[in-house]
Structure formats: C-alpha cells, structure tokens
C-alpha cells in the first residue's frame, strides 16, 4: 500500500505586500497588527455605489512574476466576477480573472525547477491571475467548534497573485520545495515579503492514483503544506486500507490540531457564474511594457546560486540552499563580503546556523543574528580568542538574542585561556584532585587523556586543547623522571 503514486497540484496565493495599497482601493497594504476593521474603506467593504479602482503597479508585478516563471504574458486580459456567497466576501463576488474561449488570465503556462536531492525536477504552471483577497475570518478555537465567526476586513481587497500548477508534484516534500522556490523567486523580484504571516497561502489538490481528488484549503505556509499533505496521505491510505472510498470533497487544514476536516460541501462543483467585471476596463499589456519589465528583472535564485558557486567557490549544493530564501542569500553574501572568507561563512551557515534555526522553527528573518555578528565570531576564532567549539555554543544565543559574540563570551566567561601559566595552574589543580588517575597515567600514556579531559571540563572548553595536551604530558613526563630519580632506576 505504501508505494502508490501520489499526485499533487498547488494553487498558491501570493499577497503582493510590496504594493503600498490594496488592489482596488487606497487602503494600506500594511494591514497586519491593526485593530480589526480599521484598515477599510467603502470600496473594500463593498458599500453601495463604490467601484473598484485597479492598482496599476500590481499588473507590473504580475508581469514580472510571469517572466520570472517562464510564463506567457497575455496581450489582453480582463477582470471577471466570481460569484458566490461566503462570509469573507464583502461583495459576495470576488474580482478575479478567468480563462475562457476569448479571454486569458494575465499569464499562461510557465514552469519552475526544484531540486529534489541531487535531481532537478520541472513543475509546470497552468496560469496566473490577479484577484482580491477576502476578509480574514476569526474563529474561537477550531473552525467546526467555534460558536460564531468574526470577520476582519482589514485584509479584504489585498492584491493576490494566484499561481496554479499542473499536478506535477509526487510528494509532500516536493510540494514544500516548490513553495520554497516560488517564495525565493517572488522575494527576489521584490513582489512580497515571505516572512509576513499569511503572505503566501495555498490550496492543495491531492489524490492517490486511482482515487478521487481532494482539495485542502487554508494552508498558510510552506512549512504547513508538508504537514497537511502528509496527514492527508495517511488519512487516505487508512481509508483505502479499510476498503473505504475517498470522497471528492474540500477539506480544511486545521493548523492547531494538525488535521484536515471535511467542510461537508453539498455540491460537487460550484457554479461561480463568471462574467466580465465591467467596472474595470480590459487591460492591454503592450509588448514594450513587457520588455521594459524584463529589463528591470533582478537576479533570480538560480542565477544567483550559479554566481555564488563561481564567485565564492562554494559547492553547488550549498549555493542552492543559500539561495532558497532571499534573506538567507543576502545574509550569506553580506557576511561573505564582510569577512572575506565566503567558504568559512558558508560552512557556518550550512553546518550550524540552519540547524539552529530549524530546531527553533525560525526563519532567518525572525532570528536576530546579523552578518556583523557572525563575521565577528569567525574573526574571534581566527584570532584564537575563542575556539570553534565555543563558537558552536554561542551561536544559538546570537540567533535568539541578537547579541554580538564578544558580549556573550564575556558574559559567560568564555574567553579562551591561552597563557601557559594559567593553564599550568589548572593542570596542577586537576592533578591534585585526581591522584589515582595521575598514578595510572604515570604507567600508561593513554590514561593521560582522562586528565586532559578533566582540564577542559574544568575550564568549560576555554583552554587551547593543544596547550593543555602539551602541559599535561610534560607534567607527567616530569613526574616520571622525578620518580625515576627517587627510586634510582
């Protein structure tokens, strides 16, 4: 049962958070952390008589995204009304785009390549469209148990770019990689800030070959997509194992309980009664405009990875990982320039920083580490002020507190003890405290390692291990000679 083919397609909704205003009105796009229903106007609330007033810059971002994702930018497109009643809709229709015989959405086709292990896989795109974000619904606890629904229209009318993929993904991991890559590309374009809560959401269509397709809604990030799809695969496999049929339905991803729940839709297919939104004139996208946008296209993640590899001499795999998130790539590049040691920086990021972030479930943007602090740390190691091991110990604190390494080392008394006199003092103490081990070491060279360990332990790793090693062995050698003299052998 475990080897059936899984087929996944994603509908990604990207908020164009870099726009100053919403898609059809002058309300700020910076709606987060505002008092509910304070970032609204007659247009995004759908008041009688109000009309949509399209944000032209949104079209430009959509064109740039289309070019970045190898899509065909339509010469002419128009907005449509998608009619359905739902509590998050201020007009009970959504202004969106629609592909029909005569009309196209803003971009058609395209693809995006992901790296699955060492292999490169191409995920094809179906289309892209601009549409308005609905309001945010707030429930008390899980959606199906909430006694009521609160509606916050602060988000209503935010510009969304919907990017629909072909069902080309074969595992939850590929879905995550696809979203990560998409996020990095869109961040490089400057269309949105992926670190903002809910700025990239998706609906996933998933089926186990031979069974009905299930749509999962309300997936709020690429971290969640893998969890949601893994849950759904187990649920479907379980059901199939019990001989049940998979019902074609829409399910809701409950982020709190980490389960999908059926929304018990009565109808199989909605009839959205799409028809042209005639309050907005059709968009003519001139080839000159497309060419102009193309000329302004910034460096994209794949090209950047290639450059990293060449310019900084780091392995291709590392370069791909580093460019998987714009903030990370920027962090690496700044640190590499600041320190002049790109390989060392890359190793620290790949080997340690990413692990620390992963353990704490943090994005680089959420962390407080800076290129200055990691560069300082590397410098301190090079100068012998701290050991590499101390570096590893203080890194988590650099991430969570944002303190400079010098400060942490000082606070925690972690400067390396490099002068031989101090080390000799500690060694003397350890020898006094461990008479038996000293005796052993006099007879067996190997047993000296225990004493070295004790010294390191006492100083919490601050001593230069080389000096400790030399000091301990010299002292044993001297004791042995003294003993020889005493006994006359």
């Amino acid at each position: 049962m475990a080897s059936e083919t899984v087929i996944i397609g994603l509908e990604v909704h990207v908020q164009l958070t870099s726009l100053k205003t919403k898609l059809f009105c002058g309300c700020s796009s910076d709606y987060r952390d505002k008092e509910p229903n304070s970032n609204v106007c007659v247009i995004c609330l759908g008041h009688p008589g109000s009309l949509p007033n399209p944000n032209k810059k949104a079209v430009e971002y959509a064109v740039m995204t289309g070019l970045a994702l190898n899509s065909e930018v339509s010469e002419r497109t128009m907005f449509y009304r998608k009619n359905y009643f739902y509590v998050d809709m201020s007009k009970n229709f959504q202004i969106s785009m629609y592909e029909t015989g005569g009309t196209r959405t803003i971009c058609k086709g395209g693809y995006l390549d992901i790296n699955v292990g060492p292999k490169r896989k191409r995920i094809r795109l179906t289309r892209m469209q601009l549409e308005e974000d609905p309001a945010r619904l707030v429930h008390i606890g899980p959606i199906d148990l909430s006694p009521y629904t609160l509606v916050d229209y602060n988000r209503a009318g935010m510009a969304l770019l919907e990017i629909v993929s072909e069902p080309d993904m074969a595992s939850p991991k590929e879905a995550r990689l696809y979203l990560q890559k998409m996020r990095s590309i869109l961040e490089h374009i400057g269309a949105f800030d992926g670190g903002l809560e809910g700025a990239m959401r998706c609906d996933a269509n998933i089926s186990i070959k031979g069974s009905n397709r299930v749509e999962i809604k309300n997936i709020s990030s690429f971290k969640e997509v893998e969890k949601a799809l893994n849950f759904e695969i187990s649920r479907q496999r379980g059901a199939l194992g019990r001989g049940e049929k998979i019902v074609r339905e829409t399910r809701h991803w409950d982020e709190i309980r980490k389960v999908t729940i059926s929304l018990r839709e009565k109808e199989e297919e909605h009839d959205y009664r799409y028809f042209p939104e005639q309050d907005i004139v059709p968009l003519e996208i001139s080839r000159e405009m497309v060419a102009d946008v193309g000329r302004r296209m910034p460096e994209l993640p794949d090209a950047r990875a290639e450059r990293f590899s060449k310019e900084y001499g780091i392995p291709a795999y590392d370069a791909q990982v580093l460019t998987g998130e714009k903030a990370l790539a920027d962090f690496f590049e700044s640190s590499a320039k600041l320190s002049g040691e790109p390989k060392v920086v890359s190793n620290w990021i790949m080997g340690d920083l990413l692990g620390v972030l992963h353990e704490r479930d943090l994005d680089l943007k959420e962390s407080k580490i800076s290129p200055e602090s990691i560069t300082s740390m590397i410098k301190m190691i090079n100068e012998g002020t701290i050991s590499g091991k101390i570096g590893k110990i203080i890194l988590p604190e650099m991430v969570t507190s944002g303190k400079m390494p010098q400060e942490i080392v000082k606070e925690r008394g972690m400067e390396r003890i490099a002068d031989r006199c101090s080390i000799q003092d500690v060694v003397a103490e350890v020898f006094t405290e461990n008479a038996k081990a000293v005796n052993d070491a006099l007879r067996d060279e190997e047993a000296a390692n225990f004493l070295i360990g004790q010294v390191m332990r006492k100083t919490r790793g601050r001593c230069d291990p080389q000096i400790v090693n030399e000091t301990v062995r010299e002292r044993i050698k001297r004791m042995r000679e003294e003993e020889k003299e005493k006994t006359g052998f």
């Binding site: 007659v42 609330l45 759908g46 008041h47 009688p48 008589g49 109000s50 009309l51 949509p52 007033n53 399209p54 009304r81 009619n83 009643f85 509590v87 201020s90 007009k91 009970n92 229709f93 629904t149 509606v151 229209y153 009839d271 009664r273 028809f275 005639q278 309050d279 907005i280 004139v281």
Partner: protein
C-alpha cells in the same frame, strides 16, 4: 413671479444678483413640498441640513437626488427595506461636484426599488403620483425626481437611467431628462443595478438647465475607471446654435404598432418644426430594435444578480434577527425579507441566465445582440446627426394598470432600452400633450453628441413654448 417658478438658470442668476436669498429659496421649496408631497410622494427623505456652502454656478439651488445615489450623511435607501437604515459615509462624485458649485441637496427622491421598474410602483415605501393626474404613475424608475421637478418641489434633480429611468418619468411628467453617453458622468456613488448600462442623468424644467447642470458634472473621475476624459464642451453655447442643415433620422420602428396615436402625432409635429427650422429629415430603419428588449432584460438582470449580492446585512443595511443561525440561513432570511418581489424576480432570472449551461444561450447571446444594436446605430449616425422618436410609446398609465403584468411593464421600455445598450446619449423633451398628459420626444445622438442634442432640443423647445406647469404648480 414666484421663486419656485424660476428655472435653475434663472434662480441662480437671481441669487447672484441678490434678488433672491438662499434661505428664502429653500423655504419656498420646503413649503411647496409640505403642501403637496403628502399626495405626490416624490421624497423619501428630506434633508433638514440642506444648505448651499459654495458660491458657484449652482449657488443656492435646491436640487433633489434620486435615492439610489449616495449622499454623505444623508440616508440612501434605494426605496428598499434592505437599505432602510443605510447612511453613506461618502458622496457620489456627481453630488460632490454639485455641492462644490453651491447646490443645496434638498432631499432624496422615490424610485422603483433599486431602480427596477418603469412606474415607481415598485418602491418598497409607496408609489409616487403623477402631478398631471394623481391617479397615474409618474413613470420610473426615477419617478420621484421627475415629480419633484415637475411639481416645483425642487428646481432640478438627478436620476439614473439604466433602461430609460430618467427619460420615462421625464416623458410622463413633462420634464427634460437626459441619459448621457456611457462614461460621460462618473458612476461612483450610484448604487449599481446594471453597471454596464446605467448612467446618472439630470431631470430639469428646460433644456438650458439640463445643459448647465451637465456642464458641472462632466469630466473624468479617478474613482470610476469607465469614466471618460471627454473634452469639456461648452453646452450652454450649444443652445444658441441652430439646426439649419442638420440631417434628422426618424426610425419608423419607433413609431410602429404599440405607439399611441396621440404620442405619434406630437412626435411628427416636432419633425415638422425641425424641417421648418432648416433641418432635413427622412425615415430610417433600426431593424434591431425588436431584439433590444429581451437583450436588455437579460443583461440587466444578469448584472443585477451579481450587483445585489452584497446586501447580506453583515456590514450595513437591515439584518434580520439571526441569533443561533448559520450564516447562509441568516443571509437567506435577510434577503428574503429585505427585497421586494420585482427585485427578487430579477435576481432569480439573472442568476439563471448566468448559470452554467444557460450562459451561452442567454447572457452571451444578449451581448452579441448588443453588439448588433451598437452597429445598427453606428450605421444610422453615419447618415444622420440625430435620430428622433417618442420616448415612451404611451402617456402615463394608471396606477395599478401594469403592476400585475411584468411583461407589459417591461414592454413600455421598448424605445428607451436600445439607447443604454448602445451606450449613446438621448434626451427626452416635453413636446406636447395627449389627453392632457405630457408626451416626450426622444432625441438620440452618437456617443458624446450631447452638445448637438442640446441644440436640437432647445430649438424645438423654443418653437413649442409649452406651459409645463402641472395643476399643483400653478399656484
């Protein structure tokens, strides 16, 4: 002469010269309303705070606004229960422009609920009555606006015209009503019924007033994407031009079966006047006219089904008691109780016409017919400067006469709906009487030919020299 007998143009002139005081003017109009509106029912809401705060070309003019056009801080109900308590936080662009020129918004006028109707009988509040015969309808949907202007309860008014809603009541009440070229006036703040068809339009006592108020309202509005950046033509100057050398088309399809003889007679009288003034005319054909009614109703209802979806009682408007109900039950209850029968009929039919499996056969087909009608008019306007015909096939009918037969009611729009489908301007000019009831002459032109229409209308108006005061306005 009484203050209320002055036209808009004369009134502003009198105020500017100091012959009339703004306060007196408002008081005179309020007295007229107090005396007659209990019967006529032109107004749904009177503006207690009406005042003229700017000194412009409309200084001190008490203007009435159809209750489908938003007025900041002044209840705007669309004559519907569902918006009975709605107070807009903003002014429609045209209202803002009127205020900026010194107009005082005297009140909000009655209409068929959400502008759906041709008699004002579909108002959820009460029907308005025709000042020429209070047993008859004033026409619709902007019935209240035409009644107010005709009965001297306002010096001018705004209506909205989706399929004839400014011209029909103007024809029935003896006022001048213009449906401008689509996009000439901003629709921002006009509560949408069928957004691809409708325009705000003025209702006035004479053609000069219409030209004056239009010149205040035109011009691109950044809040309405479809509003045109039409060069500001000097409409008042157009009144002094003559029709000599103009070519007039008289589409016989407008005067065929179903047109009352008394109406046709008055229309022909105007054609003769135009000829006398030096214009030439000939009969023309508009074969697509017969398809315009079904095409119009399919498009209008389809758009309405979507435009009216927002009234769910959540953000504004009247919400029915819904404690313990899920949202969809609450919506159904609110919409079930809030909308009247004609509105429900149109929402249901429009939803049907847009549904999968019917879309191609109804909505898409209607759009194709619309294109044919546009082309048909374009063909005629290559030959003629303007077309003339009746605005309505009949004079005002009796209250209750058609209300039980929606198709008969729809049929009365036969001469007005093609104008909206074709996006062109048309003006209804009082041109005579049939059995004591006003008859309207419809003057139609190509897109943005308002100036030429004013020339024609003003020439005919001057020749006719009609006394258009209904009994209630004769003091």
């Amino acid at each position: 002469m009484r203050i209320i007998d002055l036209s808009l143009f004369e009134l502003v002139d009198a105020i500017k010269r100091g012959d009339a005081k703004k306060g007196e003017v408002l008081a005179a109009y309020r007295r007229q309303i107090a005396d007659h509106d209990c019967v006529l029912k032109a107004f749904l809401t009177l503006n207690e705070d009406a005042c003229s705060t700017a000194s412009g070309v409309l200084e001190g003019a008490p203007i009435a606004i159809k209750d489908a056009i938003c007025t900041r801080g002044l209840r705007t109900t669309c004559a519907s229960k569902i918006l009975a308590n709605y107070v807009p936080p903003y002014d429609a662009t045209v209202v803002k422009r009127l205020k900026e020129e010194g107009a005082a918004i005297i009140g909000k006028t009655n209409l068929d609920e959400f502008a759906m109707g041709s008699s004002t009988e579909n108002s959820a509040v009460c029907p308005s009555r025709n000042p020429w015969d209070t047993e008859r309808v004033p026409g619709g949907s902007s019935g209240g606006s035409a009644v107010a202007v005709s009965a001297r309860e306002a010096v001018a008014a705004l209506g909205s015209d989706t399929g004839g809603s400014v011209r029909c009541p103007s024809s029935f009440c003896g006022t001048v009503g213009l449906k401008p070229t689509y996009g000439l006036l901003s629709r921002y703040g006009l509560v949408a019924f069928a957004n691809s068809l409708e325009q705000i339009g003025p209702v006035t006592r004479d053609v000069r007033d219409c030209a004056l108020i239009m010149s205040v309202m035109v011009g691109r509005d950044g809040f309405d994407e479809t509003s045109l950046d039409a060069g500001k033509e000097d409409y008042l100057a157009c009144l002094d031009r003559d029709v000599k050398g103009m070519k007039i088309g008289v589409p016989k399809d407008f005067l065929g079966e179903g047109t009352e003889e008394g109406v046709a007679k008055e229309v022909w009288k105007c054609v003769n006047i135009l000829e006398k003034l030096g214009a030439s005319w000939e009969e023309a054909e508009l074969p697509t006219l017969k398809y315009s009614l079904p095409a119009y109703y399919i498009i209008a209802m389809s758009e309405a089904s979507s435009n009216l979806a927002r009234y769910d009682g959540i953000r504004y408007g009247v919400r029915q008691e819904d404690e313990g109900m899920d949202w969809s039950t609450s919506y159904s209850k609110t919409r079930g109780a809030g909308f009247g029968p004609e509105v429900k009929r149109r929402i249901i039919l429009g939803t049907f016409a847009l549904s999968a499996g019917y879309y191609e056969g109804y909505y898409l087909k209607a759009l194709k017919v619309r294109t044919l009608i546009i082309k048909d008019f374009e063909r005629l306007f290559k030959k003629y400067d303007v077309l003339v015909g009746p605005t309505m096939p009949s004079t005002a009918f009796r209250i209750g006469e058609k209300v039980e037969d929606p198709v008969a009611m729809y049929r009365s729009d036969i001469d007005t709906v093609p104008i909206n489908l074709a996006n062109i301007p048309a003006l209804s000019l009082p041109c005579g009487f049939s059995n004591g009831l006003p008859v309207g002459l419809q003057i139609m032109g190509p897109p943005l030919s308002e100036g030429k229409i004013f020339t024609v209308a003003h020439s005919v108006e001057e020749e006719l020299g009609l006394d258009l005061r209904p009994p209630v306005a004769r003091g």
